[in-house]
Amino acid sequence: MTTAPQPTTPAQGDGDFTSTGPLLEVKDLHVEFHTKQGVAQAINGLNFTLEAGETLAILGESGSGKSVTAQTIMGILDMPPGHIAGGEIRYRGQDLLAMKPEQRRRLRGVNISMIFQDALSSLNPVLPVGWQIAEMFRVHQKMRRRPARQRAIELMKRVGIPAAEQRVGDYAHQFSGGMRQRIMIAMAIALDPDVLIADEPTTALDVTVQAQVMRLLKELQTENNMGLILITHDLGVVADVADKIAVMYAGRVMEAADVYEIYARPGHPYTKGLLESLPRIDAAGERLNAIPGLPPSLTDMPSGCPFSPRCPYATDLCRNEMPELLPIVGEHTSACHYREEMHRGHLQTPEEAQA
């Protein structure tokens, strides 16, 4: 492991990648699940881009399609029942969805890597953790057992596991939650991937450990100039580490902007609702403003804007016509018919307007 930032080069993967275009680009992605209850539209036209060294936080509540997005990019979505109904996922200009399965497999773990939420169930219970890390080198680099094990020990040290030499043969259940997540991270960064997807990496951890793990992720990202996709429902985590935020709702990006912009001037009523539902230190003792209602059923999407049934500002236009994700200023985009007013803070509810 070197500590100096490295230039962005495609790691060990094969195939020539054009350096034009962003590191990762998702264009109009549609993913459906075919279930007995009907077709569940998990992702409905998702768009975002990720550059090297950048952290994009994908924010959303349960069922908004965050994890499906991650799994679709990784190519580990269970198909069936999952089905990619359309769109492109471009990695260095190449469409991952058009690749042959074998070509795609060679990218997994090497160029694009992923960390899962529950490290205990995501690590193999009957294989030593060192073996599981070393497997990356043994399979992808055809390294021999001993040097691979040595590299595994180095990685365990890098992610902050004490007494790595002694613990390399231990099993997942013998580690604490934070240490397990560090092992997951070691495994994911073993081959210096360009893109790291972290799916709720700290949700299962307690708060103090959460901060340590996030700091580690951030450090590693800077060292290796990785593009990091951080999937979370925790607005607190996002504010610390993200450069850009994409707010997802019902399988769509509702609003995307850089992190300061979105906290200061949300351009979508849903984002505003999320921010208002956060406990604040300067508003102690007041009741939290939770967003009323539940996300729509994926098998029975409302016509128009999917947030309209819960939106205090919704009008007939919202209920009939799906707003597109359009820019407000610069990189700040929002999928709201009233994004300009919202952004300026002038938007009124229909009741307020009548009064």
Partner: protein, 308 residues
């Protein structure tokens, strides 16, 4: 670990005492008179009968008979003699290789065929292969052992002439049909167990991780999925190897093999107390030893289990 093994070995003592006592009591309680059975239609003088009864302690109360027998076993390794005067140990030594070979063939069959069928059915879940495996397994499990035995004897022995249908004169080939019959039910159980275990493992988070690490599907299945699914299957196979001795009684009788199973069957009919107890004790010993090995293997396969 050593402490655990010693504790387990000590448990053998009460198990063996109980097992021999029960078997001894059951043979003792059987109606009929072994000496009469021995003499058959020929007349036997009262003096000879009395001498035989004395020689085999038949007039002693049950517990005294049992005590004398166990004393002989423990102090001199003397498992007694048959009514014809042959040492029981001699009979065991003769029959044991046959039964062990039969058990090995059956065990190999159920482990290998069961595992292959289970893996194919799980990996190609809901495909034709899966359906085919499932249906054949239901048939194998549902058919009575005797029916399978006669069916195989008729088809592969008589009609096709591929395998001998009785005895062991042709060496290893003679063991194939009886081995399959002995293994049939367990092969089905192994395959179904492995299928459901592997299907569950393939949906687990750690298999998803292995896929996300860029491992080939074959490696994901064998190294990550199978490793976990095998744990309960190995346990079952071990326990089954131990109970196979009981199955050998039926199969050896049907295929007329000179093994311990057939011997037990004949000895029960002839009320040869000493042989039945000797062989059954051996079976019980085999069962507890194999079970101990299975428990140790279990700990080796699953690092989450520790004995101390």
């Amino acid at each position: 670990m050593t402490g655990y093994i010693i504790r387990r070995l000590l448990q053998f003592v009460p198990v063996l005492i109980a097992a021999t006592l029960i078997v001894y009591a059951m043979v003792f309680l059987m109606p009929g008179d072994p000496i009469r059975a021995l003499s058959g239609d020929r007349p036997m003088s009262d003096a000879v009968q009395a001498q035989l009864r004395d020689q085999y302690n038949l007039d002693d109360p049950f517990l005294v008979q049992y005590g004398k027998y166990m004393w002989g076993v423990i102090t001199q390794g003397d498992f007694g003699t048959t009514f014809q005067g042959r040492p029981v140990l001699d009979i065991i030594q003769q029959g044991l290789p046959v039964t062990l070979t039969l058990a090995a063939v059956a065990f190999g069959f159920q482990a290998i065929i069961g595992a292959i069928a289970g893996i194919l059915a799980a990996v190609y879940k809901d495909s034709f292969i899966d359906r085919f495996v499932q249906v054949s397994l239901v048939i194998a499990v549902a058919l009575p052992t005797l029916a399978i035995a006669f069916l195989l004897q008729l088809t592969f022995g008589l009609n096709l002439g591929w395998f001998p249908i009785a005895g062991i004169r042709d060496g290893f080939v003679s063991y194939i049909l009886p081995g399959i019959v002995l293994a049939a039910v367990s092969t089905g159980i192994v395959a179904r167990m492995l299928r459901s275990e592997l299907i569950e493992a393939l949906q687990s988070d750690y298999v998803r991780t292995a896929t996300a690490k860029g491992m080939k599907r074959s490696r994901v299945v064998t190294r990550h999925g199978l490793r976990n699914s095998l744990i309960p299957v190995v346990t079952f196979l071990g326990a089954d190897l131990a109970t196979m001795m009981g199955g050998a009684i039926v199969v050896e009788s049907v295929f007329n093999m000179p093994g311990l199973g057939g011997q037990v069957f004949r000895s029960i009919q002839a009320q040869e107390n000493t042989i039945v107890v000797g062989i059954v004790t051996l079976f019980v010993l085999f069962y507890v030893v194999v079970n101990l090995l299975v428990d140790l293997l279990y700990a080796a396969l699953d690092p989450r289990i520790r004995y101390d």
